[in-house]
């Protein structure tokens, strides 16, 4: 069970949130230039690390805003929370 620190509402129960998967996957700047392998990389390939993972959450039953979490997938420990658009805390994440 996760206690997730929403940057706007504070710590709330996991059931108030929805998961958005790995963060910092940017849409290709020039989609028409991509070949099939590059599309597969963008759409499907994920780092899926055992350890710190930068991921997106949305506070669906609260402020309904998206934010990023740095969470250890081996221990469920939440290492950092930061806003959408901000870079991941230095030296961490995929």
């Amino acid at each position: 069970m996760l206690l997730i620190p929403c940057p706007w509402c504070g710590p709330r129960d996991e059931v108030e949130f929805h998961y958005g998967g790995e963060a910092h996957i940017a849409r290709p700047a020039d989609p028409a230039a991509l070949d099939d392998a590059a599309w597969a990389e963008y759409l499907f390939m994920r780092s899926n690390p055992k350890g710190p993972l930068a991921e997106r959450w949305v506070h669906s039953a609260g402020c309904r805003r998206w934010f990023n979490l740095l969470r250890d997938t081996a221990t469920h420990r939440i290492l950092a929370v930061y806003k959408i658009g901000d870079p991941p805390p230095s030296g961490t994440g995929p």
């Binding site: 059931v15 392998a37 899926n48």
Partner: protein, 416 residues
Amino acid sequence: MQRYSMAALARRALGRHRSWTPLWRKAAPRAHYRVVIIGGGGHGLATAYYLAKEHGISDVAVLEKGPIGLGNTGRNTTIIRSNYLWDESARIYEHSLKLWEGLSSELNFNLMLSQRGVLNLAHTESDVREGMRRINANRLNGIDAEWLDAAAVKRFCPILNISPDARYPVLGATLQRRGGVARHDAVAWGYARAADARGVDIIENCEITAIRSAEGRITGVETSRGDITADKVAIVAAGHNSVLAAMAGVRLPLQSHPLQALVSEPVKPVLDCVVMSNTVHVYVSQSDKGELVIGAGIDAFNSYAQRGSFPVIEGQMTALLELFPAFSRLKMLRSWAGIVDVSPDASPIIGKLPVEGLYLNGGWGTGGFKATPGAGHVFAHTIARDEPHPLARPFSLERFATGALIDEHGAAAVAH
């Protein structure tokens, strides 16, 4: 290998059962193997067995981080069926089911296969249409499937609540009579014993720390018990497939999630089939000990921790009581989670990876147990011949670039 039989049992009984030998040797790793299999679950052990039996390759090591069969092989809900919608899935799961049907005698080990029938309930008009479509697709693929209306469902499973007053009333169900359950531990033990008898080394407590390659070709692995060189390396590690592939510089379209299950206290026989519901989302059967074995969906977030969150259990309990109000006073004994590697189309990845001599059997997500014999069989072929088995060909990693996905999300009779 000591063969098991009534005569052997009687003979050993006279010796007070002191002459039984362990099922497999405690092998120490050698410096080189033709094939190294990473992962000593059912799939890895089956792969080793079929490599030795069908392809004459017994210079094989199965490396397992802990003791064998304690990962997802020992954490699933033991359900076996082959009623998948798409042709590619139906063929590989039916291949597996056919192997299950002869496996206890082939391995001389009682897998306690019980083909008690699997019901997939329909609660809405679209469930009914989807179920009937799947029955037609199954029959075209030679798989037994039939439609039961609500009254027939009640006759087949009398304890099920089919009241029209339910929030999601049971409108009918698909039934695969050849579906059922098997003893999950026995699958690992049976394959381990049979593979060991054919010369395969099963090496437990041996964790992979690195995968070595040179000039785009696999050369071996580094482990907690020393370095091992190998001509071919096969990754069969379920939830940890991404971690292992990353050691060889390969990215996979997999996400690791906890899949929780739980069992109730043992009660008298009350449920003699497997009941699955996609819409209210729970699946349940009763073990020979009398415990109800209950499962549902994954926790949404990525995790390697072999534990999930309580609301997921609450959700499946709600669904269980909707279907079986009589279970409301049952106590639950224990719950656990396995780490499943879910692919974007809820179908497995079986085949070669972009490094020469490196192979993957993974991405089975929540449905790998039933596929154990079939997956091991086609994967062994893929490794031995260095080209995919015809049944495995559609499940290559390349499908994510070509777009030929096999979308079993929602189509596979249960949500993943």
